[in-house]
């Protein structure tokens, strides 16, 4: 069976404006953009590694660091902001001992900021992996964290 990354490269080789979708698919595959993948992508799309890197760093979606097993995205939309997102964010970072964008030392959690998840009527909102948790309070988020820690820690 062919390496899925090579398959991706072939799929996007000759299509117009393919760089961003290719970066997105690569990140889907690895969870981040490894350096060797960036080099291969630059060869495939015919741009210098610097140009590819320039595009990738422009967009907030792309990450160059492997992520933890679970990602907690704290929504910082306007409605969340005025409904206590800051408090949850502060407590969360303090609890896990990381800043936004960082991963805990045990590799269990990555904490990220997100501009708006668009569930403003359920503010404050946090997304744990693919699950959006609305009308959140710290006690409930802490419970979720403890549950994951107990199961996998």
């Amino acid at each position: 069976m062919e390496d899925p990354f090579q398959e991706l490269l072939r799929e996007f080789k000759d299509s117009k404006g393919s760089l961003i979708p290719l970066l997105q698919k690569t990140q889907e595959l690895y969870g981040y953009l490894p350096i060797y993948a960036m080099e291969e992508i630059s060869r495939t799309v015919g741009l210098s590694p610097a140009e590819v890197y320039g595009v990738a760093t422009f967009y907030a979606q792309f990450s160059f660091q492997p992520k933890g097993r679970h990602t907690i995205k704290v929504c910082h939309g306007t409605a969340c902001h005025v409904n206590g997102a800051e408090a949850i964010d502060t407590a969360l970072k303090s609890e896990l001992g990381v800043e936004s964008g960082e991963t805990t030392r045990d590799n269990l959690f990555t904490v990220e900021n997100v501009a708006c998840l668009g569930c403003c009527s359920l503010a404050p909102v946090v997304m744990v992996d693919q699950q959006v948790e609305g009308r959140l309070n710290w006690a409930r988020l802490l419970k979720t964290i403890k549950r994951i820690q107990e199961n996998e820690g």
Partner: protein, 591 residues
């Protein structure tokens, strides 16, 4: 009353509130009880404050909405047969004549929360694709453009440019290859109209887009949608496949000579890509940086071909204009703002959600009649319109009608439709800082004033909220703001100072209070507040100590607790959680 069908609202908000579990419970419950009831899904019903929501349709043709659904309630409803009197159901009924629905006029949202967005049959049964058929079989492209021009429809993405005029530029532009683009890069924090529309009625957007492509002569198009909206993307892609199978999209549409191919492009998380030229750069696979206009995209757009770009809601308006005619559309609204506008109502309002009203409705009607006023009956302070490009309006301006020109005159903008209600617990300096830190980090960096000016403004705001501001700072903020507006290439920079300018204009006393007295009247600015426990009230329940992430709150069980101000990070978790209301916030005290 014989229940025929139960429909569950499966928008992102509903799902986040547990709608999928409710749907599964209903399906399972109907199977177990061997009931003759169809259980299906729909998009966002709009009353997000009551999610998850179900609609019960009877043989007799009545429709009833119920909110706050849980798995347990779903089962109880099935057992009790939706008894109106006394049963569990009665307490959770959303009456259609409630002011939340009664004051609205759902035209763009007519199908959202009514039809199954994943079913083209449902859309067709609701009159879908009739507009496309009419346009393609009985109207020339120029007639379609003329009809949209006559309707007075203006772009719903924020700037309010007349849609028909925009189409006429692209239609007139020379070039064999033209592109039609749908801008679904809804980036304003606090706005979710486009997401909701794409999730609730994707075919309407698609139909509007195909008609637009026909009008301007485009044979290829892109829908540029935020990657943060996975459900919207999935439903859109499904809609595209279904439309293609039915001959509404692809080669030789409806058997005629017009062909149109459409692709979905996912944004990669850059707010500036909502700007037209940045969006085009992003589709081309480049950094999403705006460029100088002219040439406008209508002449030189995607890959230097003539390109027309419209927002999601704008396109969703098109089918109705074609079917019912320009005059019917123009009969609603004000002199210069026709039709309806969809708002995402959220913040400190009692009833939030997707709200659609005729242009010209006042802010007061939207916030107090539809929204029901402020949570916990606190005092209204301001309404934020237009996200980071917009502004905050005070109570004195609540009778402003929502139309492009009236809102622009206040210093705010119509924007894409985010409407966040703020109350006395919101600090206006903090709100200004919040938006500016957003635009500052989202500035692409091309224009010096946008890149550095927003940074300087943010530093000043941070000083003020840290109690280190000076009165001269306010003049400097204004000077920087006006210069940034004048010297920036694109809408991001040109509007970034608006939240600061409007809060300075309408809430200057609050800035002054921070500077002169080191007080944050809304008790939000961390450097200016302290949390204290009243030993007379504290019961020593230990809850605050257990939840405090920094062990600042401490004490013996059943003894009054205290908070160490040096350890306290002012997250407010203890304050929110205290069951005895023993914790108070003080401001203006020297450290």
């Amino acid at each position: 009353m014989k229940v025929k069908e139960i429909v569950v609202g499966l928008g992102s908000c509903g799902i986040a509130a547990g709608a999928r579990e409710v749907l599964e419970a209903l399906q399972e419950g109907v199977r177990e009880r061997e009931l003759d009831i169809r259980v299906s899904a729909t998009g966002c019903v709009g009353a997000c404050h009551r999610e998850p929501i179900i609609e019960v349709r009877t043989e007799e043709g009545s429709r009833r909405l119920y909110g706050e659904m849980t798995v347990k309630r779903a089962r109880a409803f099935l057992d009790q047969g939706f008894q109106e009197d006394g049963g569990e159901a009665a307490k959770h009924r959303l009456a259609e004549d409630e002011p939340f629905f009664g004051k609205q006029l759902k035209l763009v949202l007519r199908n959202s929360g009514r039809i199954d967005p994943e079913s083209i049959e449902n859309y067709l049964a609701a009159g879908g694709y009739a507009a496309l058929e009419k346009a393609l079989t009985s109207m020339k492209p120029a007639e379609v453009v003329a009809e949209v021009k006559a309707s007075g429809l203006r772009g719903r993405g924020g700037a309010g440019f007349p849609t028909g005029l925009k189409w006429s530029f692209a239609a007139r532009a020379a070039g064999a290859k033209k592109y039609m683009i749908c801008n679904a890069d809804e980036g304003d924090p606090g706005a979710f109209m486009d997401r909701s529309l794409l999730e609730g009625d994707p075919h309407a957007v698609l139909e509007g887009m195909i008609i637009a492509a026909y009008a301007i002569g485009a044979d290829e198009g892109y829908i540029y949608v935020r990657a943060e909206y996975p459900l919207a993307i999935a439903r859109l892609e499904r809609a595209i496949v279904a439309a293609r199978e039915r001959g509404f999209l692809g080669d030789s549409i409806l058997g005629g000579s017009f062909s149109f191919q459409v692709h979905v492009k996912q944004g990669a998380g850059a707010f500036v890509c909502g700007e037209e030229t940045a969006l085009l750069a992003s589709i081309e696979g480049k950094r999403g940086m705006p460029r100088l206009r002219p040439p406008f995209p209508a002449e030189k757009g995607l890959w230097r071909c003539p390109t027309n770009i419209n927002n999601v809601e704008t396109l969703a308006n098109i089918p109705r204009i074609i079917v019912e005619g320009a005059a019917a559309f123009a009969s609603l609204g004000t002199e210069k703002s026709k039709g309806t506008k969809v708002f995402a109502l959220a913040g400190k309002v009692k009833r939030g959600g997707m709200v659609e009203v005729p242009m010209g409705t006042t802010l007061r009607e939207v916030i107090f009649d539809i929204g029901g006023g402020i949570q916990d009956n606190r005092e209204f302070k301001a309404v934020q319109l237009g996200g980071p490009s917009g502004g905050c309006l005070p109570a004195e301006l609540l009778d402003t009608p929502v139309d492009y020109d009236s809102l622009t005159a206040t210093g705010a903008i119509m924007g894409s439709g985010g409407m966040i209600v703020l109350d006395v617990t919101t600090c206006m300096v903090d709100v200004a800082k919040f938006f500016l830190s957003f635009t500052q980090s989202e500035s692409c960096g091309k224009c010096t004033f946008c890149r550095l000016g927003t940074k300087r403004m943010l530093e000043i705001l941070e000083n003020i909220s840290n109690g280190k501001g000076h009165m001269e700072d306010l003049d400097e903020l204004e000077e920087l703001a006006l210069t940034i507006k004048r010297s920036s290439l694109c809408g991001l920079g040109q509007t970034a100072p608006n939240p600061v300018l409007t809060t300075l204009k309408y809430f200057r006393d609050e800035y002054e209070e921070h500077i002169r007295n080191h007080r944050c009247p809304a008790m939000q600015c961390k450097a200016l507040i302290q949390y204290r426990i009243d030993p007379e009230i504290c019961a020593g329940c230990t809850l605050c100590a257990r939840f405090c992430p920094t062990q600042a709150a401490s004490g013996e069980a059943r003894e009054p607790h205290s908070i160490d101000p040096d350890l306290c990070i002012r997250c407010g978790i203890c304050y929110e959680g205290c069951r005895f209301k023993a914790i108070e916030i003080v401001t203006g005290v020297p450290k």
